[in-house]
Amino acid sequence: MMEAAATSGAYWLRLIIGLVIVLIFSQLNALFLVWLERKVAGHIQVRLGPMEVGPHGLLQTIVDGIKLVGKELITPARADRILFVIAPVLVFTPVLVAFLVLPFGPDLIIRDMNVGLLLIFAFSTFSVLAILVGGWASNNKYALLGAIRSVAQAVAYEIPLLLSVMSVVLMVNSFRFSELVMAQQRVWFVFLQPVAALIYFICATAETNRAPFDIPEAESELVAGFHTEYSGMRFGLFFLAEYTNMFIVCAVATSLFFGGWHGPFGFSFKIPGVVWFLAKTYVLLYVLMWFRWTFPRVRFDQLMNFSWKVLIPLSMLNLVITALVLKLI
């Protein structure tokens, strides 16, 4: 009895410590990514980006964050009050859930579930939902238009995303992240499944509402899209969730296609797995930012056609070929 109590105590302690680390990490990560985004944008446009606060402007986003916390929370007069407040909270839940199963290292998974990969995709629905609720509750035409576009986009791109992931799952026969990573000890799946990796990355860009697929919040046409009416830390939560979502899609890409905590071709160079994992994730995040400042925004019909007429058939074909090859080998 004592033993059981002790293990359950250790279990709860582990869970609570994990949750605290996740909360701190997601904040710090978002602060860093916003800074990086501004720096990348600056250097791509031959400017310096933020330089004033801290060395190379490193503390700029912290200052901005403090400003955001101090701002007034405005609720529009004819908004749906309850839903308007719920939406920013709702947008952050799937983000926290995803961290439960992300494999940062061989021993650094909070819970290594046998349905880990499914968990992330099942809960990602809620962020779409939160955008819809927020956009609708704002009672603002730009917000509603942004929300509608967001839902259409998310549905269109979730299908090829899941199909491309399935071809990897088919090869490993598991949804468990540790097994998916272990299977890539020698060869990363990006070499065996280049098409799936490409489709995944394109869809991930769309799912996180990043340029060139940023029509839900297209600044030049929709003011700010679904979060037009949000101010202060409510807007901050949407922003935080967006940048944490970017981290999650890149972390999933790292563990599905780029070998997770493994070094290239089985050489780890005595560098711990966490470092490999984070390094690869941040390189992918850099690529995501690179996209934003390289490609112009797509038109809505181009966006839909590209998903339904190119990505979905291609990912289905890829899945069928994968299954066929696996059967024949």
Partner: protein, 175 residues
């Protein structure tokens, strides 16, 4: 001993809270006249059902519930709302025949589900023994329940063809 008692009663409390959420969601899905509330209520209800699956120990089914019912069906309903009449127009009054038809359809479904639940010989989890892993569920779906599986996809096919026909029809009317 007291530790397990606390955990047991906590688990029971959570169960009843989830049941409450399911019923609240179901009520929200039916009664308000604002169709956006209806969808959100439905989502709340189905999420609660997923939590019930979790309580019964099937993580896989809970996630599938979220992925299919919340992620696909409810988002599809949202699409339907976008195509329906604008929300700022006045909502038409509830019509009795429509209401009766809805209640009738729901009670037929409820009777069928109730009959199945009544006929099933429920066993406590400890006695059941058989494993309900993803592999077992997959095998059963493609062997014993293959017909049901196919019929469900037929229903989806009918829905897709219906949607294409309706849009084609209304487009021809407007042009």
């Amino acid at each position: 001993m007291s530790g397990s008692f606390v955990i047991d009663s906590l688990a029971h409390a959570v169960f009843w809270v989830v049941v409450g959420i399911v019923f609240a969601g179901a009520a929200l899905a039916v009664f308000p006249r604002n169709i956006v509330y209806n969808v959100l209520g439905l989502i709340l209800c189905l999420t609660g059902v997923a939590a019930l699956f979790l309580y019964l120990g099937s993580f896989f089914l809970a996630l599938m519930q979220l992925l299919i019912y919340v992620g696909a069906i409810c988002i599809a309903i949202v699409f339907a709302i976008m195509l329906s009449r604008p929300l700022h127009l006045e909502v038409p009054k509830r019509r009795m025949p429509k209401l009766a038809a809805g209640i009738g359809a729901a009670s037929i479904f409820f009777a069928a589900i109730g009959a199945v639940a009544w006929k099933t010989a429920w066993k406590p989890a400890a006695e059941r023994g058989a494993d309900w892993t993803i592999t077992t569920i997959g095998h059963l779906l493609l062997t014993r329940y293959a017909l049901v599986f196919e019929v469900i996809s037929l229903v989806l096919l009918v829905a897709i063809i219906g949607a294409i026909l309706t849009t084609g029809f209304s487009r021809r009317l407007s042009s």
